[in-house]
């Protein structure tokens, strides 16, 4: 035999427990030979083949399932069991056996030829136990905080139930009040309606109404234009800050430059990254002042600010009340019959005698009833009553909404899809935590919205609103894995990309905090977050072993 043949024998096989090397304790019983006379054979674990017992762990793959080589790297996709005395045993893939590297999972070095890897299980085991202890401590402390969350949820339950009860009463009261007011208004209206209708026939009123309609239409158009302009501005701002020079698209560059000129912004690429937002702010506000000054020059005209804020008030004028007011002011006979008398001026002569007869009767009746004189006051009364009714109805709606909200919150309180079976997350609803990374602050308000705010000012982007817990296939609702992720979706749209979204990767920690923020794909953010709400009490968790 050539001397090198000795070298070829897998030394580590000889040096260890031979056939049982790499076999996990659960399978050890199956690694025994079958004796037939002097021959010893062995059945592959899948039963597909019978091989010589000597072929087990001989560094050659005989079995299709790889089971004959638990202790070598000869078979792909098989596993090697490291005993790791002093620590805990572990299985590693066969691809790591005999590759010359010392695996952290195999602290006894049994996966490599003797001498390659030292046995470090004592140290590793100690460090591991330390770590387990530290983690347990963290869990323990964290779970105390968590229990306060659970207690909070209980209080919330009480509070909400009280609130519901209270709002129910309130609703009943308010409903009565609304009914009373409605009745009043309806009666008043029925009396005054006819008179008012008459007055509304006035050309002035008609013309006023036409103006109002026109103004409303203009306002609507104006708002649409403003919205469009803002949308376009946003698109162009996104384009300007987010366009990708890799497209090397001169048309995009032209568009950016054109927008910058129009909006008076410096070219994005000329702006030093640090000063960028400041400059923009300054320039932006300068622009506004200039515009306002220019507009102010034209006397009597409304500024954009006035248009925005006062036009609504103007259009909300109670024109009917105004109509009545008008009569008082224009110097026409302030008599109760003014319209009725004046009407004759518009009637064909032939009809006048008949009309006057009827009119006189009517006026007489009106005067007798004491109504005619007070027409205008009565109209004002009607609108006041209407307002009272409106207010009452509004309050009723609010109270109903309050109740609905309270009911919804109550329903969510112990819903696994919301605040967890113990309501431990309720406490954190609306809790905002953030992390500054580079030029931005990334913030998430739990169960609400995630945002990206530039550190140095500028517009804040929504990164998405709370959508769900980890609903990936195979994840059981309410399981620890379920609460290890939260999704925030449908944030502001990215230039040439998707709507922004965030995945929170959550784990037990003593504080509610964002540890890190990444953008693994464009506009898809990943926050690493800790929260005591995830610190399950030690005795509750059956998954402790596997987790660690």
């Amino acid at each position: 035999m050539n001397p090198w043949l000795l070298l070829l024998l897998p030394l580590h096989v000889l040096a260890s427990k031979g056939h049982l090397k790499g076999v996990s304790p659960e399978l050890a019983a199956r690694y025994v030979p079958t004796k037939k006379g002097s021959a010893e054979t062995w059945q592959c674990l899948d039963g597909s083949k019978s091989i010589d017992w000597t072929a087990v762990n001989d560094d050659y793959c005989d079995c299709p399932d790889g089971s004959d080589e638990p202790g070598t790297g000869a078979c792909p996709n098989s596993s090697f069991y490291c005993v790791n005395e002093g620590h805990i045993g572990s299985l590693i893939p066969s691809s790591r056996v005999g590759d010359g590297l010392c695996e952290p999972e195999c602290c006894d070095g049994s996966d490599e030829a003797p001498g390659v890897c030292p046995n470090v299980c004592k140290e590793v085991g100690e460090a591991y136990r330390e770590r387990v202890k530290a983690e347990e401590k963290l869990r323990k402390t964290g779970s105390k905080i968590r229990s306060t969350y659970v207690a909070f949820a209980q209080k919330e339950k009480k509070r909400l139930e009280d609130e519901i009860a209270q709002t129910e009463q309130e609703i009943a009261t308010r409903e009565k009040e609304v009914a009373r007011l409605r009745d009043l208004v309806e009666r008043t209206e029925s009396l005054s309606a006819a008179a008012l209708e008459e007055r509304k026939q006035s050309p002035l009123y008609q013309s006023l109404m036409t103006h109002v309609t026109a103004l409303k239409s203009l306002q609507r158009e104006h708002m649409e234009h403003l919205e469009r302009e803002k949308a376009l501005g946003d698109i162009l701002d996104n384009l300007r800050t987010g366009y990708n020079p890799n497209y090397q698209d001169m048309a995009v560059l032209e568009a950016v430059r054109g927008w910058e000129q129009l909006a008076g912004l410096p070219h994005i690429n000329d702006v030093g990254k640090d000063g960028e937002n400041e400059n923009e702010e300054e320039l932006g506000s300068d622009d506004v002042t200039t515009e306002e000054e220019e507009e102010a020059v034209e006397e009597g005209m409304w500024t954009a600010m006035q248009l925005e804020h006062q036009l609504d008030d103007l259009l909300n004028t109670d024109y009917e009340a105004l109509l009545v007011e008008h009569d008082k002011h224009v110097g026409a006979p302030a008599s109760p019959t003014s319209i009725l008398f004046n009407l004759s001026a518009y009637l064909p002569d032939a009809l006048i005698p008949q009309y006057e007869a009827i009119r006189d009767q009517v006026v007489a009746v009106l005067e007798m009833l004491g109504l005619a004189k007070g027409v205008s006051d009565r109209a004002a009364d009607t609108s006041k009553q209407q307002k009272a009714l409106n207010d009452a109805e509004h309050s009723l709606r609010l109270t109903k909404k309050e109740k609905e909200d309270a009911e919804k919150e109550l329903a969510r309180l112990f819903d696994p899809e919301w605040y967890g079976a113990q309501g431990e997350w309720k406490k954190l609803h609306g809790t905002c935590i953030d992390k500054e990374v580079g030029d931005y602050i990334y913030e998430v308000c739990l169960f609400d919205e995630a945002r990206q705010k530039p550190v140095k000012g500028g517009s804040t982007f929504s990164l998405g609103r709370f959508a769900s817990w980890n609903n990936a296939p195979g994840v059981e609702k309410g399981s620890p894995a379920y609460y290890s992720k939260q999704y925030y979706k449908n944030g502001a749209k990215c230039w040439n990309g998707p709507h922004r979204s965030v995945t929170l990767d959550m784990s037990c920690g003593l504080e509610n905090a964002v540890l890190s923020v990444g953008e693994p794909e464009k506009c898809e953010y990943a926050f690493k977050v800790t929260s005591p709400a995830l610190c399950l009490p030690l005795n509750v968790s059956g998954v402790k072993r596997e987790e660690l």
Binding site: N2, W4, L5, L7, L8, D58, D59, Y60, D62, G73, A74, P76, N77, P93, S94, S95, R96, G98, D99, G100, L101, E227, R228, A231, L232, I235, N244, P245, N246, Y247, Q248, D249, M250, L253, N269, K273, V437, G438, K493, N496, G497, S516, G518, E519, P520, E521, K522
Partner: protein, 977 residues
């Protein structure tokens, strides 16, 4: 708002789908190309045309001791302008033809060859020129079968083999070297000189006119078309040096196929651009450019240029290498099925053409790579799988990606970082917000014996707090504007940027010093990297976002006063060259560098790998990527690949899996993705796709010995690593246009990656030979014939059509590992695929995979041979022999070793690496015994079809278990019937 946004989306779609072709010139938008094509058209209409260029017979001066001569050349059109001709024949029969303007206003650019050539070629001292009345002649070759003729009147160069014209320069008279002139002198000479148009119709008149009249208007066009200034889009090229273009027709009268002139997204067998049967309307363009979302079928120029062309027929192969650095357009026509014309139109430069006489493809590759160098032998790990993305966003991201690969037990060797690692795109400078611990990160990757590759682009952010820019500026190393004084400023990733002029010798040592990983005193160096870190050179065309055609203005000035237009196509290679040198110089002794380049030129193969740039995630791009890699391979640049998955777009799982099938059979194998795409690392795939890709990657890793052995051969002989049919079977006409299936080195493996959607089977063409081919996976037998044969093979998603040619022995390593260096002690499996006559042969090359110690003899080069032990035997004897000892001079690149010591350090180091399994396919009968050294081995035999039989079906299979034979020793296994 909603309507508006959907409108925007609609408008955005066409822009996303394809290149903006109007960002790049067509021939009609380039003055000199327009002039060149117009000349060609006029000549085609006037058969009587004779070239105005002639050799002054009296001026011929032969070199006394070499196969070289010089002579004066005159143009009858410009009798006062002087040209010189220099023709020489090299030791290996390559003919170099040079022509230059003499005593002109200035020197034409004459340095292209100096950058492309490995060294100044040796001129033959055996071959002799003889001067005759009409020309100068030489004959050489074993039977003087090669004859070179340089005719005087008109100037014409012809190479014949056995009397048959192989290539003719200026046979159609399209040679024209526009001499330097000034605007003023042209205006002056035009005064009072009307150009007669008559006299072109008859041959006789043509001669008269040639002798007496300057027919400039006919020859050069009657307007000064694009002579003094040209505007394209919004860019005006001031052209301060006026017209100086060069036109030459190079015809192949007896060859019906031409290949080469990469880089174009087109078929390997180049489609025509002129005349009958033209597939394209524009000539092939060579002008290195960053073409955003390029077309998958076009003559448009791309990122690199290799001006080498091969013409091929069943009789012979002939090649030309046109050493020109300026923009060049090439028209290809085919007047008859068996002849091909080409017309080369270049913007500037001297005529410097190398004729590669062949006559076989293998000869051509030898001739071409003796000139420009063979592909560098890559570091072994560089042949593994490269995982890239724009961008892995942090050091923790890199660690997490590595962790996922290991959890899924998917092999990978290299993780890449694109531009976002760099603070403000100041290359070398880590963005510490996301990469706070770069060296620790790299070391975490290197702990699994993997490597990192980090991008370094050539544009330098113009800010003085960037030491690289500051130093380059202070040292005066930046490219200058047209005024030759001011630093050129352009726009790229880093915003306002400058470019180092690597033509400036002062830049060389400076650039190398930047890559040192240890402090260099005052000098800044990249201490936050490791000696194993690979480098990625992108954007080196150069790509300049606000420049003409997304590149540098042509009037920019480089070292020596040359205009950028003179050397544009060489620019990218210099950056790659210097970066490669810099990476090698980080250690002493040096390690083999890994540098990937996007832009390239003839000679770039000496410096690392290339990829086909920013492809699209479409089936068309997947398919054309295979052809482009083949085209690069035959042009000397073997270490090539295309981005797996497509750079742009989100490939569906089927496409991604097929693309991995392409990648595992590419010399360079990298997956890459644009920043806007979804993540698509193999571990993210659902089943069954994930397992299919894992198996494909493991297949690649098992075949690394095959790839490495092929690279050794390429690095020594210049033979490509992946070989199209015409290379392996040069006489089989059926294979001349095949470019979707190919052979890997000399291994006998024939592969056809699937590049179509929804395919369950593929047809594969078996070359014209009476031979058996085996399916690599199921050992099904196919038989070709002397006329060739088309077969149908299974090609479901998990299958790649892969055949072993009968007569091959393939060495593999079949144990999956996390990375390739972890396989270095793994045993080998030998697949012996018997030929019809019961024999087989294969090679295996091994060395340390990372240093140059192989050039000191530290390597193993084995030959495995299977043959019949006796003439009529049905058995076989398989033996392992030492090839290195047999052919030490041919073993490694760059040096010819006189002897080989089989007990060198490396060989000793791997002496315990064994052959664990031998599989013999195609035995006639079940063996009676299988022995080595007289000792019976364990084996199993499965009945099946014999190699020598007539039928098809599954081959018989003998599996020899663990013969315990060392990979470094001589041994024999005897299989007796």
């Amino acid at each position: 708002m909603r309507a508006l946004s959907s409108l925007l989306v609609v408008a955005a779609i066409p822009a996303v789908l394809a290149v903006k072709t109007n960002d790049f010139k067509t021939c009609s938008q380039a003055g000199f190309c327009r002039r060149g094509r117009a000349l060609s058209a006029r000549v085609a209409e006037n058969p009587s045309w004779r070239s105005p260029y002639s050799v002054d017979a009296s001026s011929v001066a032969l070199s006394p001791d070499q196969a070289a001569f010089t002579a004066g050349v005159k143009s009858s059109i410009y009798p006062d302008v002087k040209f010189s001709l220099d023709v020489r024949i090299h030791d290996d029969g390559v003919v170099r033809v040079r022509m230059d303007e003499v005593d002109g206003l200035r020197q034409r650019y004459n340095e292209a060859a100096s950058w492309a050539l490995l060294e100044e070629p040796k001129v033959s001292q055996k071959i002799q020129w003889s001067v005759g009345k009409d020309g100068v002649r030489a004959a050489y070759g074993p039977k003087n079968d090669v004859q070179v003729d340089v005719s005087f009147e008109p100037l014409k160069v012809t190479l014949r083999r056995d009397g048959k014209e192989q290539v003719v320069l200026n046979s159609r008279g399209l040679l024209h070297m526009e001499h330097f002139r000034t605007k003023e002198s042209v205006a002056k000479s035009k005064e009072g000189m009307e150009v007669p148009e008559e006299g072109l119709d008859t041959d006789e008149n043509a001669q008269v006119v040639l002798g007496s009249l300057p027919r400039t208007a006919w020859f050069e066009g009657d307007s000064e078309d694009g002579w003094w200034e040209e505007t394209f889009n919004s860019f005006t090229d001031p052209k301060p040096r006026g017209p100086e273009s060069l036109s030459i027709d190079i015809d192949f009268p007896n060859h019906g196929h031409v290949y080469g002139i990469p880089q174009h997204a087109t078929r390997l067998d180049l489609p025509l651009t002129t005349g009958e049967g033209a597939h394209y309307t524009d000539p092939y363009r060579l002008y290195n450019a960053d073409v955003f979302e390029y077309l998958a079928d076009s003559t448009m120029s791309l990122y690199g240029s290799i001006p080498v062309m091969y013409a091929h027929s069943a009789d012979s192969t002939i090649g030309i290498f046109n050493a020109i650095g300026s923009e060049t357009w090439i028209d290809i026509g085919r007047p008859s099925p068996k002849s091909t014309t080409s017309h080369w139109i270049s913007e500037t430069g001297i005529l410097d053409i190398f004729i590669l006489p062949g006559p076989t493809p293998a000869d051509i590759f030898g001739q071409y790579t003796r000139l420009t160098g063979t592909p560098a032998l890559p570091a072994h790990w560089a042949l593994g799988y490269h995982q890239c993305r724009w961008n892995y966003i942090s050091s923790d991201d890199v660690r997490a990606v590595q962790k996922r690969f290991d959890e899924e037990d998917i092999p990978v060797d290299v993780f890449w970082l694109d531009i976002e690692y760099a603070e403000d795109h100041k290359y070398f400078i880590w963005d510490k917000r996301h990469f706070p611990d770069p060296v620790d990160m790299i070391k975490d990757v290197e702990a699994i014996e993997r490597k990192m590759v980090v991008i370094v682009d050539p544009h330098l952010k113009r800010t003085d707090d960037y030491p690289v820019y500051k130093q380059a500026k202070d040292l005066g190393l930046l490219v200058k504007k047209g005024d030759g004084q001011t630093d050129y400023e352009g726009w790229c990733w880093s915003g306002s940027s400058a470019w180092v002029d690597f033509f400036h010798p002062g830049s060389w040592d400076w650039w190398k010093s930047l890559f040192k990983v240890t402090p260099q005193g005052e000098q800044w160096s990249w201490v936050e990297s490791t000696v194993n870190t690979g480098i990625w050179n992108d954007m080196n065309e150069p790509s300049i976002f606000n420049g003409p055609e997304i590149s540098m203005p042509r009037e920019s000035i480089h070292h020596g006063g040359w205009e950028h237009r003179d050397l544009h196509n060489i620019n990218g290679m210099l950056f790659h060259n210097l970066t490669s040198q810099a990476a090698a110089a980080r250690t002493d002794p040096p390690k083999r560098p890994f540098v990937l380049t996007r832009s390239f030129y003839a000679g770039s193969q000496r410096f690392g790998a290339m990829w086909t740039g920013d492809n699209l995630g479409t089936w068309d791009h997947m398919a054309v990527g295979v052809k482009m890699v083949l085209a690069n391979n035959i042009a000397g640049f073997s270490f090539a690949g295309s981005d797996v998955g497509g750079f742009f777009g989100n490939p569906e799982p089927e496409m991604l899996v097929r693309w991995y099938g392409v990648g595992v059979f590419s010399p360079f194998f990298r997956a890459h993705a644009h920043i806007d795409t979804k993540r698509r690392e193999p571990f993210l795939l659902d089943e069954p796709y994930k397992s299919i890709v894992r198996d494909m990657l493991r297949l690649r890793y098992s075949m690394l010995p095959v790839w490495y052995t092929a690279f050794r051969e390429a690095s020594v002989t210049g033979l490509p690593v992946v070989r199209p049919h015409f290379v392996v079977f040069p006489h089989d006409e059926n294979g001349f246009s095949l470019d979707d299936q190919f052979f890997i080195g000399s291994s006998g493996l024939l592969v056809k990656p699937v590049t179509q959607k929804g395919v369950a089977e593929e047809t594969v063409y078996l070359p014209a030979e009476d031979q058996v081919y085996y399916d690599y996976f199921n050992h099904n037998v196919y038989r070709s014939t002397s006329k060739g044969k088309e077969i149908t093979v299974p090609a479901e998603l998990h299958q790649i059509p892969l055949l072993i040619r009968g007569g091959s022995i393939v060495s593999t390593r079949e144990r999956p590992r996390r990375s390739s260096p972890l396989m270095k002690k793994d045993p080998f499996t030998l697949r012996v695929a018997l030929s019809n006559d019961g024999s087989a042969r294969g090679e295996l090359y091994l060395d340390d995979g990372e240093t140059y110690s192989h050039r000191d003899g530290k390597f193993v080069w084995r030959e495995f041979i299977a043959e019949k032990p006796a003439k009529k035997s049905k058995g076989v004897r398989i033996s392992s022999r030492d090839l290195a000892a047999q052919k030490p001079t041919e073993a490694v690149d760059q040096v010819a070793l006189a002897t080989y010591d089989s007990s060198n350090d490396f060989a000793k180091n791997v002496a315990d690496v064994r052959v664990e399994k031998v599989v013999v396919l195609g035995l006639v009968t079940k063996p009676s015994s299988v022995t080595t050294g007289g000792k019976e081995l364990q084996w199993t035999f499965t009945q099946g079809v014999a190699a020598s039989a007539k039928q098809e079906g599954t081959a018989s299979e003998l599996v020899i278990k663990d013969p315990k034979l060392s990979i470094t020793s001589d041994w024999e296994i005897l299989v007796q019937a």
